[in-house]
């Protein structure tokens, strides 16, 4: 495999959130149609840096390997994306790999996205159907509404939208576009709509939908093409109406 094409990767490494970050360069043989994860797997087989130093294998997260779980999300050449679905041929070399910057680093490229899951709990991203008796079948949903809802149901909590959002940073606790899209999803369900106000309340604080600055990066970054900006505008309307109602109702 001499004088053959190679792939050069620069990986940002870090033992944990507190430790200093450093870069390591790797060079691996080129094979057609490789994606970023296959490069990482290649490095893992024999973790030696480009200048011949033996090192530990870089850590990253992955699961489905087909762009549906979101766990492999990282920055590739500075931009957020799914490393299992990003082809080396579409990236300029050397390819830099970094963990997402808006979440605490667990190790190397793996980050802790628990904040997103906590937010899903906060907005009650479920349809309450448990009762002490059989609630019977739910109402039917018009096909058009179902199709619209499905768009939002594809969210995989990957965090790309938060990563790309200028309003999400260390000094802001903005809940982020993904959770707002989920409020839109569960509030549009006929049964979910019964607890609509609880979800609107959850996004009506300083960290809620009002923190959106309309940079609209989220909708560009989302690998699932979820119409996040439409959900944000719609939730803006709903939260405002809810607040007005709450004010004049006096409770």
């Amino acid at each position: 495999m001499s004088d053959q094409k190679t792939i050069v990767l620069k990986i940002k490494r870090r033992a944990d959130q507190e430790s200093p970050a450093y870069w390591e360069e790797f060079e691996i043989p080129y094979r057609p149609a490789m994606n970023v994860i296959s490069c990482l797997m290649e490095i893992r087989k024999n973790p030696v840096t480009r200048d011949g130093k033996a090192t530990s294998a870089p850590v990253w997260e992955m699961n489905c390997l087909e762009n549906v779980c979101g766990s492999c999300t990282m920055l590739m050449n500075g931009k957020v994306g799914q490393s299992c679905a990003t082809l080396v041929d579409n990236l300029t070399q050397p390819i830099s790999l970094e963990p997402m910057s808006k979440f605490p680093t667990i190790k190397d490229l793996a980050v802790d996205r628990s904040r997103m899951f906590a937010n899903l709990k906060k907005i009650r991203a479920w349809i309450p159907i448990d009762g002490t008796y059989d609630l019977g079948p739910g109402p039917r949903i018009a096909e058009r509404d179902r199709q619209e809802a499905y768009e939002f149901a594809r969210c995989m909590t990957c965090g790309s939208c938060l990563e790309a959002c200028p309003q999400v940073s260390e000094h802001s606790n903005f809940i982020g576009p993904a959770a707002i899209g989920q409020v839109r999803l569960f509030n549009s369900h006929p049964t979910g709509a019964m607890t609509k106000e609880e979800r609107l309340e959850a996004i009506s604080g300083a960290d809620g939908v009002t923190s959106c600055g309309n940079a609209q990066n989220c909708v560009k970054a989302c690998p699932k093409q979820i119409p996040l900006t439409e959900a944000i505008a719609e939730m803006n309307r709903d939260v405002t109406l809810y607040k007005f109602k709450q004010f004049f109702r006096g409770k």
Partner: protein, 245 residues
């Protein structure tokens, strides 16, 4: 879990409605349109009377200056809203983290420009208020018999003849009008008036249209003033009463 929403509801209520960040944020957004945006449009239209010459312009100044309770109106409808809008806006700006280098999308540029133009507008408005309104009160306080001279057609025209002052005005007008028209686009999303991506895009075209109309109007007025001011400087006319055209 401490994140369940009923608890959140309790805390919001316990703190009282005045502590509701939502209210203050909405107030920031609303104040940009009313009264500030309305005032801006009115102000640009009033100033465009400069195009009709000194007589018309000075009449407009007299009409506004002679409004009953003018000082109260100025403070309640102009100064307080602008001050609130600026201070809250600067706080919002500090809280964001622009990432243009990584994601140089059109709307992300607008996000940045909205903040940049707001900060330019803040300084410009400070300069502008000093130059006009406050100077009038300053002269009044000094016992000057004709405090209105600070904002007459003649005074404005002579000020505009100074290139530095003129260019500050140009930059200021562009920044303020951009902040308003792009802010209107934001407002429509923030209040859920434009929800679909298509409506937001169409609104964007409309807002650019408004930008060119109002910025053009403002700049045209001051270009006219500057031309007269330079003519007056040349002919050394310095009567405070008005200008021979």
């Amino acid at each position: 879990m401490a994140v369940a929403s009923p608890e959140n509801k309790e805390t919001t209520r316990a703190k009282g409605r005045l502590h509701d960040p939502y209210l203050w944020h909405r107030l920031h957004s609303a104040s940009g349109i009313f009264p500030i945006g309305f005032f801006l449009i009115q102000h640009l239209i009033a100033n465009s009377y400069a195009l009709r010459g000194a007589g018309a312009y000075n009449t407009v100044i007299r009409v506004y200056g002679g409004l009953p309770f003018v000082a109260v109106l100025e403070v309640v409808l102009i100064y307080i809203p602008i001050l609130y809008h600026s201070i809250y806006g600067i706080w919002i700006t500090a809280y964001g983290q622009s990432n243009l280098t990584r994601y140089s999308y059109g709307r992300n540029w607008m996000y940045f420009m909205q903040r940049a133009s707001g900060i330019i507008a803040f300084f410009y408005i400070g300069y502008h208020i000093w130059n006009t309104s406050l100077q009038k009160y300053f002269l009044l306080w000094q016992g000057n018999p004709n405090p209105e001279q600070a904002i007459s057609y003649h005074a404005m025209a002579l000020q505009m003849a100074d290139p530095l002052h003129f260019w500050i005005q140009v930059v200021g007008i562009v920044a303020v009008v951009f902040h308003f028209t792009n802010g209107f686009w934001n407002f429509c999303i923030r209040w859920g008036l434009t929800i679909s991506a298509r409506s937001q895009r169409l609104n964007q075209y409309g807002c650019w249209g408004l930008f060119f109309i109002f910025a053009g109007m403002g700049i045209w007025s001051i270009v006219h003033l500057r031309a007269d001011g330079m003519r007056a400087e040349l002919t050394q006319t310095s009567s405070a009463a008005g200008m021979v055209r």
